[in-house]
Every structure is written in structure tokens, then in C-alpha cells.
Symmetry: C2
């Protein structure tokens, strides 16, 4: 199976689990309008990179894909909620996402806010159920890690720094260290946690867990630079969302320039690959994933 | 100690725990603007009814107040996040809350959305930590219960039904059963869970847990009717928020009329008290709480 086939297979499994989770929510009394908006946000064509990283990292320790799906779906719910809220008029005001109207365009603002809230909440419901792992201690550890990665010191905090820089002009001259911090929080924390969550599910040894977190951290940083490079080069048809939407945003491309950003991408790819050394050939799929992230702009 | 003193004491302890939680978030790298908005939303004068119910229900089983505070603070974070999002222009568009400008007025919309997101996330972080309970199984049970009460089949779902009825006019004629369902979800689920969480922390027997859930359910319904009656009678100075803000909303007062709503309140109070019978005089504070909720409008 090629890397692309493997990625697509995981995406299909995660999609099915997400669909089932939303069906369960509807059966449990969630209003149909709310569930429809959650489906719009969470289902459909998407790479499902974070779930894939979780699945593959857990796989290093012999955890079967099927057993990782509740946690993988939880992670994707958090990612999807963040897209719904980031797209809102008060934030990035985007009309297009994954080639479809954004949730507040397809429905309205209040429905989009609530759908995001509900997706975030359902992520923790998924993690808390015994399907995620038979051991409550593992579930509690996953919930603590997800909350840290997604919260004020992670993803939400990064989005705050991003909007602050854009809307309030702080800091006046965005500098590399500031941009790296905000991106490590905004996109890096959840990607790093995807890898850590695989290690938690796999009951990895501390040094293995740290290695996967380092891999995830560098991969997340590379992913963001690749995304920013694509944004400056890309067109909306390829990206499924508006191109050059980040004009005016503080990115490493705007701070360092395109050449230096591309060079940074190469370093991050090499760091990510080095973090996998201890795993030998078992980690070949994760190596492919690092190349896949970088290859998008090569 | 009188009931009011006991309520105020719990509120002070919960406030201190909330303040500490937000200090920890700031120390953990959360942006200062985000933490300021979270503080604005979560700290200050408030009854802290939900935490109080949790503390008192856990107390029935010998759990010390100090030991209940992380879970109590988590519950209040969820309540506060829901107020921040409900107040947004796209939802209820309120300017005043607890006698202060709402978060989107004091800051702006995007900060308010993110502060709400972060408060919801931090609630699950609190529940996942060993401070909440030494047993991971108890923490996982609390997280599952909170997610169910707060999510698409609970609080968020109820807010969706409420806004749907108001903004989209569905159902054309709000009827008692529809209003009771939406209120049971919107406010009832979290109040009921506050009582259930006390039982979970106290390792209550199944019938004791069910009795406290019934108490919480009836108390929650009574609380909402009292709130709606206050809204039709009250003035903004007493309520700390705009009066008659619910004009046009589907409430039991608008559906049944004031007299019938008051009679329903008496029945709910009596149901709530009856649910406590098995606990004898130990539950006297919870009995006072039921009277307190109803007394607000008598």
C-alpha cells in the first residue's frame, strides 16, 4: 500500500467514526439543525492528517487502527471546531473551506458558534468513553493532553496571538520568535499532541513519547510554513479555500521571505526525520508523512 | 451558619479556585489578552449556584469542600463560557452581565469567542487532573457526564432550540412540551449534572445518585421558571443584566401565563424536596437551596 493509499484509508475510517459519532448525537436528542451544522463542519473531503499521525504513532506500539479511532475522531472534532470558529466573520471572515461554504455561510453565525462549541465538547465525550481505552488512567491522560494542546496555552491562545497581531497590530514588527511562538501554539500544539496521543494509547516509554512529541513539533512547524508558502503561491481551486487569505497575517514567509522560509522547511523536515531514528524501519510511514507535508510545496 | 453565609462561603472558595486556575493558565503561556477576557467572564460577583450544588451533594457523602473545588470550578467554567457565547451579537446580543459589560463589549467579539472556547477547554483540563479525584475512573466519569450535560444533547442543544424558536420561528406556536424540553437541555442539564457530579465524587450508591439527579432536574426547571418570572417583573439593577431581554423568547411564563407558571414552580419545589427524603436532615442545606431558588420570586 502506498503512502497516499494508507492516508486515504485512515481518512475513510476516521470519517466513518465521525459520522457514527454525529448519528449518535442526533439519536441522543441533539437538535437536527445543530447536528446538520456539525456534519457540515466535520464530514467530507479532508486529509485527516492529525488522526493519521495518531493512528501511525500508536501503530508503532502495536495498537490496531480500529482501537485508535475514538481518540483519532476526538482530535479531528477539535480541529474541525477550530476551523468553524476561525472562519467566523469576527475572526478570519472566510466564505470557503475545503471547497464548501463555511458553516456560518451555509447556516448562520449563531449556528456556527454552537456547532463549534458542540464539536469541542463531543471530543471530550469521546475521550471519556471506555471505547477510547479500557484503562481510565489512559483516558484521563488523553483528556488532559488534549485540553492543554487545544486551550489557552495552545491552539486557542495561538489564534488569539494571531488575531491580535493582525487586528490590533501587536507587535508592531512581527519577528521570527513571535511568529514561531504563535504558530507552535495555533497549529503546532494539536499536531504534536496527535503524535503524543499515539504514544499514550501505545503505553510508550517516556523517551519514545518524547521522540514522537519532538517529531510532531517539527512536523507541525513544517506544516505551517508549507501552508503559508502555498497561500502565497496557490490558487483557491487547489487549496479549497481562499488563496492569499493570510495577506497581512504574520507568517514566517512574510517575516523571513520565501527563500529563507523554504530553507527553514528543509531543516524542520530533517529534524522531524532525525527524531524517528530510534524507531528504525517501523517508522517509515511517519517518515513519509514528513516528506508528504514538505512535498506539498516542492 | 445561615444558608446565605454558606452559599457565600462556597462562592468565595470557588472564586479563589477559578482565580488560581486562570493564574496558572497565564503562567503556562496563555496570552494576556485572552486571560484578561477569561477573568472578566469567570471572576467577580456571582451566586455560583452550580458549584454550590456540587459541593453540597458531595458533602452528603462526607467529601470535604476543599476536595470538591476543582470539579466545582470546572462546572463554573462551563457555565461562564456559555454566558459569554450566549451574549454574543449573533446570539442574544447582550451588553450587560452580572452588572458589568459583557465580554464582547469589554473586549471585542473575537476575543469573547476565544475566551469562551478557552473556558470550556479548561473545564476538561481541570477534571482530568488528579486534584479532582485520585481515581482516574472517577475523573473519566465526571468528564463524560460534563460533556453530555454541556454538549449537543444538553446545554448547547438547548441554546440551539432556543435561538431556533426565536430567530427562525420554529415551532410556530411554542408549546409547553417544547419549552420544557429546551429548558431541560439549556439550563437543566448542567444543574442536574452539578448534583450528579457531587454523587460521583462521593461514590454514591446508584439510588442515591438517581435521587440527586431528580432533585437537580426539578431544581433546574424551577430555577428557569423563577428566572423567567423575574425577567418579566424585574429591573436591570436587581438582575445585573437587561430586564425583559427574553421578550419574544419561548418561556413557560409566555406559554402558560404568570399564574400557571407560579403554580408550576410550587410543584417543582415540592418534587425537588421529595427527592431528598431518603437523605434525612443531612440534606437540609439542599432543601434550603430549593427554597432559595423559588424564594427569589416570592
Amino acid at each position: 500500500m502506498t503512502f497516499s493509499q494508507r492516508l486515504a484509508q485512515a481518512a475513510r475510517m476516521v470519517d466513518a467514526r465521525l459520522a457514527q459519532t454525529l448519528d449518535d448525537a442526533a439519536a441522543g436528542g441533539a437538535p437536527s439543525r445543530l447536528v446538520a451544522a456539525m456534519r457540515h463542519a466535520a464530514l467530507g473531503e479532508a486529509k485527516r492528517l492529525r488522526p493519521f499521525l495518531l493512528v501511525e504513532c500508536a501503530g508503532l506500539f502495536g495498537v490496531a487502527m480500529e482501537a485508535t479511532l475514538p481518540a483519532a475522531a476526538a482530535l479531528e472534532c477539535v480541529h474541525c471546531y477550530s476551523l468553524v470558529h476561525d472562519d467566523l466573520p469576527a475572526m478570519d471572515n472566510d466564505d470557503l473551506r475545503r471547497g464548501k461554504p463555511t458553516v456560518h455561510r451555509a447556516f448562520d453565525e449563531w449556528t456556527a458558534i454552537l456547532a463549534g462549541d458542540a464539536l469541542l465538547t463531543i471530543a471530550f465525550a469521546l475521550l471519556a468513553t471506555p471505547q477510547t481505552h479500557a484503562e481510565p488512567a489512559v483516558r484521563a491522560e488523553l483528556a488532559a493532553g488534549l485540553a492543554a494542546a487545544a486551550g489557552a496555552g495552545g491552539m486557542v491562545g495561538g489564534q488569539c496571538l494571531d488575531l491580535e497581531a493582525e487586528k490590533l497590530g501587536l507587535p508592531a514588527q512581527p519577528q521570527q520568535v513571535h511568529v514561531e511562538r504563535l504558530q507552535a501554539m495555533k497549529t503546532g500544539a494539536l499536531i504534536r499532541f496527535a503524535c503524543e496521543a499515539g504514544a499514550i494509547l501505545g503505553r510508550a516509554a517516556p523517551d519514545e513519547r518524547r521522540a514522537l512529541m519532538l517529531y510532531g513539533e517539527r512536523l507541525g512547524a513544517a506544516f505551517q510554513i508549507a501552508d503559508d508558502l502555498l497561500d502565497t503561491q496557490g490558487d483557491a481551486a487547489v487549496m479549497g479555500k481562499a488563496a492569499r487569505k493570510d495577506a497581512g497575517k504574520a507568517t514566517l514567509v512574510s517575516v523571513l521571505g520565501q527563500r529563507a522560509a523554504e530553507a527553514r522547511l528543509v531543516v524542520l523536515e530533517s529534524d522531524a526525520l532525525a527524531a524517528l531514528d530510534a524507531f528504525g524501519p517501523n517508522a517509515d510511514v511517519l517518515r513519509e508523512a514528513a516528506r508528504f507535508v514538505v512535498r506539498r510545496v516542492k
